[in-house]
């Protein structure tokens, strides 16, 4: 959970990219690293093995300073998607303030998607995160491929759930910032009542989003 360090005047926000193995979580992060122009951006930490498999996590730190001097650090993490690394996944997920679930659109990956989403729910329960309260955005990645589940079907399947779905191709760099922006909006809504970002720190949602995304216009 995010908390304000009153002495240092910092607020740490943790956002996690979750999803099955090879669904494009790290690619999402690299894409954000390249496309975002936040107030503050630190070096990206990638801990990939040679097979493009994330072993521990990837980390992209973003930051912005409010007019009142509060330093907001937003840390974007990816989890390792492979089933075997469940304990690592759970540790990365713990104390998250928002989750982007990166699903693989390929028809062959439907089962892996649902297994991974169930795993997300299980691990959230284990680390004390409630699916009703935690902001979650679902991204159907790899829309540039051909053998993929149709948008209609995805919408039909996810409509009954409380989670919004965004279509993306991280490789082609579209849909990624939109996903991130949607999550930021949800996260702002969940944190503002607690930390009085607007009231106390003069940070309206638009500034929050702009400060972390920067000058970005969606291509097309």
């Amino acid at each position: 959970m995010a908390e304000i360090n009153e002495r240092k005047l910092t607020l740490d926000i943790k956002l996690v990219f979750y999803g099955p193995a090879l669904s494009g979580k790290t690619t999402n992060l690299i894409c954000l690293h390249d496309l975002l122009c936040p107030q503050l951006k630190s070096e990206m930490m990638i801990l990939e093995t040679k097979n493009d498999r994330t072993l521990f996590f990837d980390l992209l730190p973003l930051g912005l300073r409010t007019a009142t001097g509060l330093l907001i650090k937003v840390k974007l993490y990816t989890v390792p998607g492979q089933v075997a690394h469940d304990s690592t996944r759970k540790a990365v997920l713990s104390r998250a303030d928002g989750v982007i679930f990166v699903a693989d659109s390929q028809i062959s990956q439907r089962h892996n998607n649902s297994v991974s989403f169930e795993n997300l729910m299980e691990n959230m329960a284990k680390v004390g995160l409630s699916p009703e309260k935690l902001p979650i955005v679902v991204q159907f990645n790899k829309r540039d491929l051909t053998d993929i589940i149709s948008e209609e079907e995805v919408v039909r399947l996810w409509e009954p759930t409380p989670w919004e779905v965004i279509f993306a191709s991280a490789l082609r760099r579209w849909g990624v910032v939109e996903t991130f922006k949607l999550l930021l909006s949800l996260v702002y809504d969940s944190l503002d009542p607690v930390f009085l970002l607007n009231l106390r720190h003069q940070l309206p949602k638009s500034d929050f989003e702009a400060g972390l995304i920067g000058n970005f216009t969606s291509p097309g």
């Binding site: 730190p61 304990s87 540790a91």
Partner: protein, 411 residues
């Protein structure tokens, strides 16, 4: 629960990095040497608490270079003006160092956290397994107990059946005996009745004799049909005596048979046991069956005659059951050869099917009709022979007959 939360806040891999902890990862001596060389010892490196990490102890005029982590200063390099040119290279060097240290620290923390978690999961699984193991162990112990109970029950039942088999043999024997004894008793009794009838005439004859009248005496003699009596008497007496002799014979063989039923080891002649047993068996074997014996001279052996008799009797009964009731033949042979006594019972009965030959000595194996035995005869027979260190060989031709040979060590 509160403990778990405490652990969570202090041990999670991405909790705020403390600079002293971070610097532990970096070899401060080597770093100092490198920076000393690079910056001609005209610098100071301080952490974010202001503590000197390495460099000159005093530095008056300096340029501050900030090394940041998470948008916050983590180290400050104070650079003497003379070293200003090396500002960028020094900054880059320290940034690489710090980034690697952070990377190392975060991954190792995460690794430890994951391993601890895995361990806890394994420990929980282990506990669950231990519990189920204990459950199965208890169950298996109970099973052992139950199996032992059942074994005991089966043993008891077997014992009862062994006894009942013995009792039924005795019962069969007793029934045969009763029949054989009843026959002579029947005719002896009717002879005696006849005798009594004749002797009842004697008082009348005496009264006639007392009158002294020969005519009356003769009349009384004739009325009493005493001429017939005189004729009958020797025959009646001879017949009755023969009957009592037969009864005496039966009783005597039975006595012998019961006498040898002492389960003590004694020196005994097998031929005597065979003869006695044959005598007993002849009473229960159908008269149409001929029993022929060919007994050769045998040395006495140390044995339990009662048991040998019982074993031999069951062979005899089996043979009698196998042969035709009207013209069956049973041949009994004994011989002494190669320091062993052999007793053979050979019949011309129905024989044993090849597939049954190996099973005939199994307890409770029987092909006889219900009520004719529970299938313990040969089994007990084998037990007895084995107890005497002997062996049983059975050869049989279905439809031709069976030969059973008991071999007992002797001499």
């Amino acid at each position: 629960m509160s403990n778990a939360k405490e652990n969570l806040s202090t041990e999670v891999f991405d909790s705020i990095l403390d600079v002293p902890e971070l610097l532990q990862v970096i070899d401060k001596n080597k770093l100092g040497n490198i920076l000393d060389d690079l910056l001609n010892q005209q610098y100071q490196l301080r952490d974010n608490h202001g503590v000197l990490v390495c460099g000159a102890s005093e530095l008056i005029d300096y340029l501050p270079v900030s090394i940041e982590h998470d948008f916050e200063e983590i180290l400050q390099l104070r650079l003497a003006k003379s070293q200003e040119k090396k500002r960028n290279i020094a900054h880059q060097l320290l940034e690489v160092l710090v980034n690697n240290a952070i990377r190392y620290t975060m991954t190792s923390r995460l690794h430890i956290q994951a391993i601890k978690d895995d361990y806890q999961q394994l420990a929980a699984e282990h506990r669950a397994l231990e519990i189920s193991k204990a459950k199965y162990k208890a169950l298996s112990e109970q099973l052992e107990e139950r199996v032992q109970e059942q074994v005991l029950e089966i043993q008891n039942t077997q014992l009862k059946l062994y006894k009942s088999e013995k009792m039924s043999a005795i019962g069969q024997l007793a029934a045969g005996m009763a029949h054989e004894i009843n026959n002579p008793i029947g005719f002896i009794r009717s002879n005696l009745v006849l005798f009594r009838d004749y002797t009842e005439q004697l008082p009348m004859l005496k009264a006639a004799m007392d009158t002294g009248d020969t005519q009356k005496v003769r009349q009384s003699w004739e009325e009493g049909q005493l001429d017939y009596a005189l004729e009958d008497f020797p025959e009646l007496i001879a017949e009755s005596l023969e009957g009592t002799a037969r009864i005496a014979d039966i009783v005597s063989s039975l006595k012998d048979f019961s006498n040898i039923d002492h389960n003590a080891d004694v020196e005994a002649d097998i031929n005597t046991i065979v003869t006695t047993t044959c005598a007993v068996a002849s009473n229960i074997v159908d008269t149409g069956i001929s029993i022929v014996t060919d007994l050769q001279e045998l040395p006495e052996i140390n044995c339990r005659p009662g048991l040998i008799g019982q074993a031999f009797l069951s062979l005899l009964v089996n043979a009698a059951d196998a042969v035709d009731r009207k013209n069956g033949r049973i041949r009994i042979e004994t011989e002494f050869q190669d320091r062993a006594i052999r007793i053979r019972v050979i019949d011309n009965g129905i024989g044993i099917l090849t597939e049954n030959l190996n099973r005939v000595t199994e307890p409770f194996f029987t092909t006889k009709d219900v009520g004719k035995g529970v299938g313990l005869g040969l089994s007990i027979c084998q037990d007895i022979v084995v107890a005497h260190n002997g062996s049983i060989d059975i050869t049989s031709q279905p439809g031709q007959g069976t030969s059973v040979q008991i071999s007992l060590p002797a001499g």
